[in-house]
C-alpha cells in the first residue's frame, strides 16, 4: 500500500479551549506524501499550524486525528530516525559545540567507542565550517555558529527524516545566505529527506524540490504542493536570473497574499491530496483571481 516514503493521512489537531467554547481546530484534512531524498519546504502565515505539524512528525506532539506512516510503518512518539533542528537552536549550554554533537552521536550509536564518537562528530562540525571552534560553549558562539552546531547535530545522527522549524529565522540576511549554501552542499552530499518550515519565499525556492502551501488557520489545510524544478546544483547568487524564477516566486507570493485567505477552510477534504502545481508548465495553476475550484488531485 505504501508506495511513498512518507504518507500523512487526514492529520488534524484540535486544542481544547477555555470555558464552553468549542475546541479549536488548528488544521484538518492534512494529506501529503514525501519521497525519499526529497527536500520539502512548508510556507504559511503565522499561526496556521506549521510548527504543530512538525512537532507531530517529530513525535513531540500527538495528532488528534490521522496517521503518519514512514517507511511503511505507522509512527508515534519520538525516535532517532527523525532529527529535529529547532527554531531556537536548543543547544545544551553547559556542553561545548563538540559536546553537543557527540551527545547526540553517543545516543544514536551507544556501542561506539569514545574515539569513533569524537571523530564522527568532528567531521560534521567541519562540514558546517566550525573546525577550530569545537571547544567553545554555545554562549561563546555567534547566532549563526550556534545554528550551525544545531545543523551538525541533526545531520550527524544521519536520520531518515530531517525536520527543521524555521532554522534560520533568527539570523541576519548575510549569515542566512552563507548557511543556506552550506545546507545545500551537505544535503547534496547526504541526500537526506528534509521537511523544513520557512517564512522566506526565496529560501524555499533555493532549497526545495517542492513547496507546500498552507492556508490560514484555524481550519488550515495544505492547499497546494508546488514543484520547483529549477535544476540543481542551484547557486544562490545566480538563481534570480533563472528564467523561471519569478514565475515560481509570483505564484508563491500570490498564494500568501490572496489565496491563503480566500481558500481558508474551503479546500481539501478527507483523503484529498493538495493540488499539485507546476507554475512554469502552467499545470494545476488556479484561475487568476483565486476562485476556489476544488480539484481532487490524487497525488
Amino acid at each position: 500500500m505504501s508506495l511513498h516514503f512518507i504518507e500523512v493521512e487526514n492529520l488534524a489537531r484540535t486544542f481544547p479551549q477555555p470555558g464552553r467554547q468549542p475546541p479549536l481546530t488548528v488544521f484538518e484534512h492534512v494529506n501529503f506524501t514525501i519521497e525519499k531524498g526529497e527536500f520539502i519546504c512548508v510556507i504559511g502565515h503565522s499561526g496556521c499550524g506549521k510548527s504543530t505539524i512538525l512537532n507531530i512528525l517529530a513525535g513531540l506532539d500527538a495528532a488528534s486525528e490521522g496517521a503518519f506512516v514512514m517507511d511503511g510503518k505507522e509512527v508515534s512518539g519520538p525516535s532517532r530516525d527523525r532529527g529535529v533542528i529547532f527554531q531556537n537552536h536548543s543547544l545544551l549550554p553547559w556542553l561545548s559545540a563538540l559536546g553537543n554533537v557527540s551527545f547526540a552521536v553517543r545516543a544514536r550509536w551507544p556501542e561506539w567507542s569514545r574515539r569513533q564518537v569524537r571523530e564522527h562528530s568532528l567531521s560534521y562540525l567541519k562540514m558546517v565550517g566550525l573546525a577550530g571552534a569545537e571547544h567553545k560553549k554555545p554562549s561563546e558562539l555567534s547566532g549563526g555558529m550556534r545554528q550551525r552546531v544545531g545543523i551538525a547535530r541533526a545531520f550527524a545522527i544521519e536520520p531518515k527524516l530531517l525536520l527543521m522549524d524555521e532554522p534560520f529565522g533568527a539570523l541576519d540576511a548575510l549569515t542566512r545566505g552563507v548557511i543556506q549554501d552550506e545546507l545545500l552542499e551537505i544535503w547534496g552530499r547526504t541526500h537526506q529527506t528534509v521537511f523544513m518550515i520557512t517564512h522566506d519565499v526565496d529560501e524555499a525556492i533555493l532549497l526545495a524540490d517542492r513547496v507546500m502551501l498552507m492556508t490560514n488557520g484555524p481550519d488550515a489545510r495544505i492547499a497546494e504542493s508546488v514543484v520547483i524544478d529549477i535544476p540543481r546544483p542551484r547557486d544562490r547568487s545566480a538563481i534570480h536570473q533563472h528564467p523561471e524564477y519569478y514565475t515560481i516566486r509570483n505564484h508563491l507570493v500570490d498564494f500568501l497574499i490572496t489565496r491563503s485567505k480566500s481558500l481558508q477552510g474551503r479546500v481539501g477534504g478527507p483523503g484529498q491530496q493538495p493540488r499539485s502545481v507546476n507554475p512554469v508548465r502552467g499545470t494545476g495553476v488556479p484561475d487568476p483571481g483565486g476562485t476556489p475550484r476544488v480539484v481532487g488531485g490524487t497525488g
Binding site: A58, G59, L60, P78, S79, R80, R82, G83, V84, F86, N88, S90, L92, P93, W94, F103, A104, A107, R108, K137, P138, S139, I157
Partner: protein, 277 residues
C-alpha cells in the same frame, strides 16, 4: 578596573583603621590618654570609665595570637584550642549538611518532575520550612538521646528546606527545548535525568546548597550553646561564663571567617557548574 579595585582596597583598610582606632580610644583606661580623650568623650557623650570591662583591640589581638599559635591544644573539656572547637562545629555542619543533600536533592528532583507530587507536598513543606531548627532540639534530644547527634539532626533539618525547594524549582524550570532534545534522541528517563536535567538544574541546586550551609553555620552556634560539650558555640558560651570578653570577641571573628570560607567554597564549586545561555 584595576584602579577601582585598588581604591576600594585602600578604603577598606581605612575603614578598618578608623574602626580599630575608635575602639581603642573608647576602651582605653581613663587617665592615661586624658588629654586626647576629653574632646572625643564630649563629642560621643561618653563618661569616663564607660569602657571598663570591654577589652581593647590590642588585648583581643594578643589573645588571638596566643590562641592561634596553638589552635589544637586540648587540656580538658573547658580548655580546648579554637581550631579544635571550630573543627567540631564544621564537622557537625558538614555531617548534617551531607545528610540533607542525600535526602533533599533526590526528593526535590522527584517533586520537580511531578507537578502532582509538587502540589501534594507543598503544604507540608510550607509549614515545615519556617520552623526554627532549634525548636526541634527537645524532640531530637528526646528521641535520639545523644547531644552531639541531636546537634547534627538540627543542622540536617535546617539545611534540607532550601535545597529541597531549590532543587524542585530548578528541575521544574528546565527548558522544554532541552527535554525535547533528549526525547528526540530517545534517551532513557535515567539518562535524561542525569545528563540533561541535572546539569541544567545544577546552578539552582547549588544556590540552595549555599543558602543551606549559610543557615547551618548560623544555627550550629546556637545549637552548641544548648547542647554544650564541644564546638565553637560552646566555646563562646564557656568564655562568657568566664567573663573573658576578649575570647568571646575573638571567637565571633573566627565564626565570621569560617562562615565566609564555607560560603566561598560552595561559590567556587558553583563557578564550575554555572553555564550561560
Amino acid at each position: 578596573m584595576a584602579g577601582l579595585k585598588i581604591r576600594a582596597a585602600i578604603l577598606s583598610v581605612l575603614f578598618l583603621a578608623v574602626f580599630l582606632g575608635a575602639w581603642q580610644l573608647a576602651t582605653a583606661p581613663p587617665g592615661a590618654t586624658e588629654r586626647e580623650l576629653t574632646e572625643y568623650e564630649i563629642m560621643m557623650g561618653l563618661g569616663a570609665g564607660s569602657g571598663a570591662g570591654m577589652p581593647a583591640p590590642t588585648e583581643v589581638f594578643g589573645l588571638a595570637w596566643e590562641e592561634l599559635s596553638r589552635p589544637f591544644h586540648d587540656s580538658g573539656p573547658n580548655d580546648k584550642g579554637i581550631g579544635l572547637q571550630l573543627m567540631y562545629s564544621v564537622g557537625r555542619v558538614l555531617a548534617g549538611f551531607a545528610l540533607a543533600v542525600v535526602v533533599a536533592v533526590p526528593i526535590g528532583f522527584v517533586i520537580g518532575m511531578s507537578p502532582v507530587l509538587n502540589n501534594a507536598l507543598n503544604p507540608y513543606i510550607q509549614i515545615l520550612k519556617p520552623i526554627s531548627p532549634l525548636a526541634w532540639m527537645p524532640l531530637a534530644l528526646f528521641t535520639i538521646k545523644d547531644a552531639a547527634t541531636s546537634a547534627i539532626f538540627v543542622i540536617f533539618i535546617c539545611s534540607i528546606w532550601p535545597m529541597l525547594v531549590n532543587t524542585a524549582f530548578g528541575v521544574a524550570s528546565v527548558k522544554r527545548d532541552w527535554l525535547n532534545v533528549a526525547r528526540t534522541l530517545e534517551l532513557s528517563s535515567l539518562r535524561t535525568a542525569l545528563f540533561v536535567i541535572l546539569p541544567a538544574a545544577a546552578p539552582t541546586i547549588l544556590t540552595g546548597m549555599r543558602i543551606s550551609i549559610g543557615i547551618s553555620w548560623l544555627v550550629i552556634v546556637a545549637a552548641e550553646m544548648l547542647v554544650g560539650g564541644t564546638g565553637i558555640g560552646y566555646y563562646v558560651w564557656n568564655e562568657w561564663n568566664n567573663l573573658d570578653i576578649a575570647a568571646v570577641i575573638f571567637a565571633i571573628i573566627m565564626i565570621g571567617v569560617v562562615g565566609m570560607l564555607l560560603d566561598a567554597a560552595l561559590a567556587q564549586a558553583g563557578r564550575f557548574l554555572r553555564y550561560q545561555e
